[in-house]
Structures are given as C-alpha cells and as structure tokens.
C-alpha cells in the first residue's frame, strides 16, 4: 500500500494564470472591473465629458428637473448635476481610496503585530484599539479634523484613521486563527524570523479577508467623508463631492428628488462595483481556485 503516496499524477503543475486573468474569468470580477474602469475613466475625462463647469452657478434655472438641457437636472444654485457627479467622481474615489488605504495599512500593522508577537505588544495594541473602538468613528474623525484643521485632505486622513480599530480588530482576529495553525509553528521551527513570518506567512493568509473588509469599508469611508463635508469639515463648497451633494440635496428632497437620487445612485454603483471586484479578487487569491 506504499504506492498510495504516488497516486497523484506525476506531471508538474500547469503554469499559474496571472492574477488579473483569473479575476476577469470570474463573471462578477469582469463586471466589477469594467464598472471600476468606467468610473475611473469618467473621473479622469470629466473635463471633456461634462457639459458644464461643475462650480458654475446658474448654468441653468435652479432646480430644473432632468431633461434635454440638463440630463440629470440642476441643483438649488442652478449648477448642472451631471457635471458635478462626473467631477465628483474624482474627489469621491480619491477619498475612498486614500481613507481605505490608511485604514488598511495601519489596521494590518496593528492587528498582525499584535497576533504575531502576543504578550505585552498584543495587550497594549489591542487595548488601545478597544479604547478607540468605544468612540464612534465620526467622533474620532471630528477630533482629528479639529486638530488638523478643516480641509479635504485632512478629512480623508481623519476618516481613514477613525476606521483603523475596525480593520485592526478584523486583521487581529483572522491572524489569531492563522497563528494557531501548525504551519505557522512549522515555519517558526524552520527558523523563519519575525518579518518573514508576518510578511510571507501571515499577510497572504489574512489579506483575502481584509480585501472583503476593505471593499465594504469603502462605502463607509465615502459616507463618513460626506458627513464631515456636511458639517463643513470635509470637501469645501463649491467642490463637487458625492457625499456632500447627497446631504445638501436632502433639503430639497420633496421638490427636487433628483438632487439626492443621482449622487446616491453614483455612490451605490461605486460601492457595488468595488464589492464584486473585491469578491472576485479574494477568490482569485485563494490558491484552491487556481486553474478553474
């Protein structure tokens, strides 16, 4: 029965497909990638696509309903909503990417170090995270902006930092499960050092979960930045930013529902696109899905 060890076919593994190809083979991944690409392209080419200057007041009559002149209508100051959404994509995507990037990096550093080192570093890092967790994210973001001063850049940093406890907790919990597995101890026994253990063993096994968390966190970040904008601490008027447009449109909800509808749809579409792309990415990163 010793031949059981040799039952697997002897041919070597076929060459691994590149990551992007594996994403695109997944229908969700293809749609998500197409949508994200379209978003980025329209943000980049907004100056050519937009029919009006997004900050120009009285481009049309205030609160014009969507029609031939203004495809998505105008707002209370007569600015073209379509133009503002196209230009807004630049700001909103930036906010989302930078804020999520900050949360992801800081959260991973905190969570993985805590799980790997254990003992005192773990206690200090995770208790600090717990303290931050006990405040609502908006409050932390507000405190940050209060110290740094109101500006769009500071709002991005504030939103990113405020979400770190959530990312750190998730990374920590996932990493704890990996640290307890024998392969991790096997790597320790094989003589791997701290950096190698964290970067080569822990990070790749935690990343799939964190990608899903990040795609969900993107919507949170956009909305949190909008909340700051609403309070006058984020995007400064007349900069077009989706979250700000959404909250500003609230005052005219009954008379001009398109003011909320289109920015809201834009946010929803963005979040949806990143979610399905993130899902496909997670699956493509799973070694078991390879070759399918």
């Amino acid at each position: 029965m010793a031949d059981i060890a040799r039952t697997a076919p002897p041919e070597t593994r076929r060459k691994a497909r590149p990551l992007w190809l594996r994403i695109l083979r997944n229908p969700g991944g293809a749609i998500g990638a197409a949508l994200v690409l379209a978003l980025v392209l329209s943000a980049l080419s907004a100056p050519w696509l937009a029919p009006f200057d997004p900050t120009k007041m009285a481009a049309g009559r205030p609160l014009t309903a969507p029609g031939a002149a203004h495809l998505l209508g105008t707002d209370e100051l007569g600015r073209d909503v379509l133009s503002r959404i196209l230009f807004g994509a630049r700001l909103t995507l930036q906010i989302g990417a930078i804020a999520v990037g900050i949360s992801l990096v800081l959260g991973l550093v905190t969570g993985l170090s805590a799980a790997h080192f254990g003992g005192w570093p773990e206690r200090i890092l995770m208790r600090a995270t717990d303290v931050l967790f006990s405040f609502t994210e908006t409050l932390i973001a507000l405190a940050f902006v209060a110290v740094l001063g109101p500006s769009l850049t500071n709002a991005m940093v504030a939103v990113g930092v405020a979400a770190v406890p959530f990312y750190a907790r998730t990374a920590y919990a996932t990493a704890l499960g990996e640290v307890a597995k024998p392969y991790y101890e096997g790597a320790i026994a094989a003589g791997a050092g701290h950096m190698r253990l964290i970067l080569r063993h822990l990070l790749p096994n935690v990343l799939p979960t964190m990608i899903v968390v990040a795609t969900l966190g993107l919507s949170n970040a956009i909305l949190a930045a909008a909340a700051l904008g609403f309070l006058g601490l984020g995007a400064q008027p007349p900069q077009p930013e989706w979250g700000y447009m959404l909250s500003a449109g609230r005052d005219f909800m009954n008379r001009a529902p398109w003011l909320m509808l289109y920015p809201g749809l834009a946010i929803a579409l963005t979040v949806f696109a990143f979610n399905i792309l993130g899902d496909a990415l997670r699956e493509a990163l799973d070694p078991r899905s390879e070759g399918r």
């Binding site: 029965m1 010793a2 059981i4 002897p10 041919e11 070597t12 597995k181 991790y184 070694p287 390879e290």
Partner: protein
C-alpha cells in the same frame, strides 16, 4: 424482513458520484458496521438515510425502506417525523453536537415533548431515567447543567441517552468514539452495546477503526470509493476476507498483539534531547489573581538517545503535546530545562534560538493545517534550506527535490500547492520540512492520527527507514498503543502532567506495572471479533502519582 433495506443508493456532489449503487440491510436488533477510509462515502451514505445530505450533494437514485415502508421521497416534513422516534443519529464530535446555550434537561425534554407528546413531568422522569441508564452520576442534578459542564465522554453519553430516549428502531452512529480517549471509548462502546441490546435497537455504526468494528459488529460492510467492496458477518470478514482490499485494510491495522520493534537503538553517550524537571502551568495570572492555575506538567525528566524512538503516551489533557512543544521551544516551561545534544536551549533568544531550533524539528497531527496553503511544496522546503543551510538557486532546488524523493514523493511535485496533495502526501512534505535543517531530534505529535490506516502504515515505515538511515532521535507523541508497539524503543506514560511509567517498550506493553498503564492497554480495542470482550477497567483516580522508582532494568513506575 430487514428493518432497514437500502438498494442501489447513489449520491452525487454536483456531477461527481460519491456513492454508487450501495445495497445495505440491517435486521432488527442487529449491529452493522460500515467501514472504509476517508472519501469512501460511508458518512455521506448515513447522512442520506437521515435526509441530512450537505448542500451540493443529491441523492440521484436508489430506494430506502424502513420497516417495510418506502421513505425514499417522503419530503422534509416526512423525514422530520422519522428523525428521532424511528431513526436517531450520534455524531463524531461530542463537543459541538449539543446546543451550548440550553441545559441538558431542556434539550432532552424538548425532544420527548415534540416526538412523544410527553408532559413536562413525564418527560423529565424519562430523561433522568435515560441519563441514569447511560451511566451519568446524579442524573437529576445534572439535568440543570449546560453542555460545557460535561467532559467529552460525558457529552457523548448524554447524546446517546437523548437519542435512545425516543426509542428509535435504528440508531446511526457516525464515528461515535473517534474523538474520545481509549478508556472513555471502551466505556461508550460498552454503553451502546448494552443499551442496544436492552432496547432491541438496530445499530448502523460508521467507523474507520477495525478494533471498534471487531468489538461491536454482527455484520460488516466494507466501502471503497463509493462502492460496496464486500459484506458479511464480522467473523467471516476478519478471518476470511474475500476481497483483496479488505485483506489489505486488515493487514494495515496496527495491532495490540502485533510484534514489538526489535532493532535496538545505537549506543550513545549523551541524549539527543533531554527534559530536566519540566513544569508548566496554564491559566495562572500573577496580576490581580491568586489562582495557581492548572498544572499541565509537573517535574518531567525524560531523555531521548540518538537513533532512539521514545513514545510519549497519554490521553487528552495529559500534557503530552505541551511537553513536545516545550521540546521544540514552541512553548516555554516554567520550571526545568531542555537540552539538545547537551546544550541548554531553555533560555536562548534571537539568532541563537533560531540556530538551536534547527536541531529540533516538529511534525504535527493535522496534515491539512500544517502546510501554508499559499506555499508550494518547494517554497515550504526552501524556507529551512535557505535559513539554516544557506542554500539558494539551483542548489536549493536540487536539495528540495532530493528531500521530496527522500520522503517517497517526486521532485516534479515541487511546484504543487498543498491542496493538490492527499493527506498522506502532505504529511510526507511536513516530514521533509522537518528533515530539511538536518535536525538531531524530530518531535512527532500524533503524526498518523488523522490518516487512514493504509496511509498510516506507510508513514510509519517512512519514519522507521529515516531513523535507520540517519540516526535521528524521535519523540513520538501518540494515544495509539498499537502504533507504539511498531515504532517505539521505549515508552513513557503520562497522565495529568506526571509520568506514570517509563521503560523499554517490551516491558511496558507486555508487563505494565502501573494500574493506569494496565487500564490503557486493556481499553485498546483488538481488531479480532473472537477476542474476549473485557469489561472496561476505569482508569481510577489519579492515585499512585508519586516519584518514580525503578522496578526493573530501565523500567520506572510512579508509586
């Protein structure tokens, strides 16, 4: 007319058939053992009888008769009315098969109220009666307790009591004792035998353990890769198996009456690995807490000579795994020291510790978790080769290939990921990783427990061969005494963190002196239905745990 009559049962996962044309029948009061290795389709067949197939699996053919009525397509509601009163099921994992948030009493009376329409007081009385029959002391008081207040063996007793309280005609037990210690297993098997006999319940026992089959079964059905290989009475299957596969399966089972290892270890003047007065506590917190914690290990002195295999035997909670981890410096001892080839590694840190670790390597139990799922076999082997032996490029690749061949795999498999290997092959890669830094000692923590018997035998052969060729010392941690006979030169028996008995394998296995060792050996099931069934000896209280005294040449017993 048989109680259960299954004809042509076919089950598929998607388009992949996992069971094809299975025919089974069980008479009233009979025990049928369904045996096979992992992936043989035995568990899925049982789940299909209960209408509990996992998502993605479908029954695509066959007919199931229970007591003469066709229950093949009786739907969800129909199955629900059968589960409990007519068919009961016991699962492998007693830790997770009871609801943790409800008391035992509540869980038992609920089933009685629903299926038997019993009133509160009647259901309660019946539940207490069944717990008592299942050997649970003070059943009335324990009704108010939650599952976490019971040990694994006690929980399995509760499960059995709960299932049999409904007086099912058929009890399906899927590996009911696999997660339990041998002494507990013996008691649970005895309990199932007795209750089945008293109530006239038929038993479908699913197991991979031929020892359990021999003790329990009237008839045996052997499955392989979704097909029935052969079926017959237990005596016939064990004494005159008709099929080659059955013969191989039986031959691969390590036996308690099998031959002991004969070749003596080479003479050596200093041990490869030595534990001196090791003590370890868990749960003790210095700060704001006065609890002393649980003593997992207490004053352990052990040494393994080069080229020797020392088997460390004990049940769950005995501290055997903790001792192994301390030996590889994956855990820290609170007292005592660990020496590798004469060097004290207890207090080493940083680079010195990493260097020392190359001399002690570990092989773990679970072949599925012991390799990084994102590392190809070659990457896993490259890690220690690059770190400890400074290899790179073509030399590293060649050495990794050589290691693969050393453990019976081929160099062409280096680029495969762990999920592309079988369990036994993964365990071979884990062994190759342990060999990579050219260690002096390998600590193997239940390396064969998660493997099928046929694979188990080949892994044991591999380890024996490696030891002969390289003079490696093995600390072999296991609960399986039959495995001990095959590979150990010496045996150490651990219980409650203390050594009970230590000596040459021949002495300890054939002339055990400590009552606990005797109970362990008596509890191990013998894969022979003609062997006399002994009533299980309870291991008794943790008495006789004093210091070791020598009773023979190198044979020490706690007194």
């Amino acid at each position: 007319m048989p109680l259960l009559d299954v004809t042509g049962l076919t089950i598929a996962f998607g388009a992949l058939p996992v069971v094809e044309g299975l025919d089974l029948s069980i008479a009233k009061g009979e025990t049928l053992a369904l045996v096979g290795e992992s992936g043989s389709g035995k568990s899925v067949s049982a789940l299909s009888l209960m209408g509990l197939l996992p998502r993605g699996a479908r029954r695509t053919g066959g007919r199931i008769l229970l007591g003469g009525t066709d229950i093949t397509d009786c739907g969800d509601a129909g199955m629900r009315s059968l589960r409990g009163p007519r068919m009961g099921m016991i699962f492998q994992e007693p830790m997770t098969s009871l609801t943790p948030v409800l008391t035992i009493g509540r869980q038992m009376t609920e089933a009685l109220a629903v299926h038997k329409g019993m009133s509160g007081a009647a259901a309660r009385a019946r539940a207490v009666e069944m717990l008592d029959a299942a050997g649970i002391p003070q059943p009335a008081a324990r009704m108010a307790q939650y599952p976490h207040e019971f040990s694994g063996g006690m929980r399995q007793r509760v499960m059995i009591a709960m299932t049999l309280a409904l007086e099912p005609e058929l009890l399906i037990a899927d590996e009911p004792t696999t997660a339990l210690d041998v002494t507990v297993q013996a008691q649970i098997l005895e309990l199932m035998r007795r209750l089945a006999r008293e109530t006239g319940t038929s038993l479908l026992l699913i197991t991979h353990d031929m020892g359990v089959v021999a003790e329990m079964a009237d008839r045996v059905a052997v499955m392989r890769r979704g097909h029935l290989v052969e079926t017959g009475t237990a005596r016939d299957i064990f004494s005159a198996p008709a099929q080659g596969y059955t013969r191989d399966l039986l031959a691969a089972v390590p036996r308690m009456d099998g031959p002991l290892r004969r070749d003596p270890p080479p003479a050596a003047d200093r041990p490869a690995l030595a534990f001196r007065g090791i003590g370890r506590s868990f749960g003790a917190r210095g700060f704001l807490s006065r609890s002393a914690g649980h003593r997992a290990l207490d004053g352990i002195d052990l040494a393994v000579a080069p080229g020797e295999t020392l088997a460390l035997v004990g049940e769950s909670g005995s501290g055997k795994s903790t001792l192994g981890r301390i030996g590889a410096r994956l855990d820290l001892s609170h007292e005592g020291s660990v020496q590798v080839a004469g060097e004290d590694i207890t207090a080493l840190r940083g680079a010195a510790l990493r260097k020392a670790r190359s001399r002690v390597q570990m092989v773990f139990q679970d072949p599925f978790a012991s390799l990084d799922p994102r590392f190809a076999a070659g990457d896993t082997l490259a890690e220690p080769l690059a770190i400890h032996r400074g290899l790179s490029g073509r030399a590293l690749r060649a050495e990794a290939g050589r290691l693969m061949e050393r453990v019976g795999l081929s160099a062409s498999m280096l680029d495969r990921l762990p999920h592309e290997f079988s369990g036994g092959q993964r365990q071979r890669i884990a062994i190759a990783r342990a060999l990579a830094p050219e260690p002096q000692v390998v600590i193997a923590d239940e390396p064969t427990s998660a493997l099928d018997v046929s694979v188990q035998a080949s892994i044991l052969d591999l380890l024996l061969g490696l030891q002969r060729d390289t003079g490696l010392a093995f600390l072999f941690i296991t609960h399986d005494l039959a495995v001990v006979r095959r590979i150990a030169h010496r045996v150490a028996v651990l219980r409650g963190g203390r050594l009970m008995e230590l000596g040459p394998a021949a002495e300890v296995m054939d002339r055990p002196r400590h009552p606990y060792t005797q109970a362990l050996i008596a509890a191990a099931p013998v894969p022979d239905p003609r062997a006399a069934r002994q009533a299980p000896v309870p291991p008794g209280p943790a008495a006789l745990a004093g210091p070791l005294r020598e009773v023979g040449s190198g044979h020490w017993v706690a007194g």
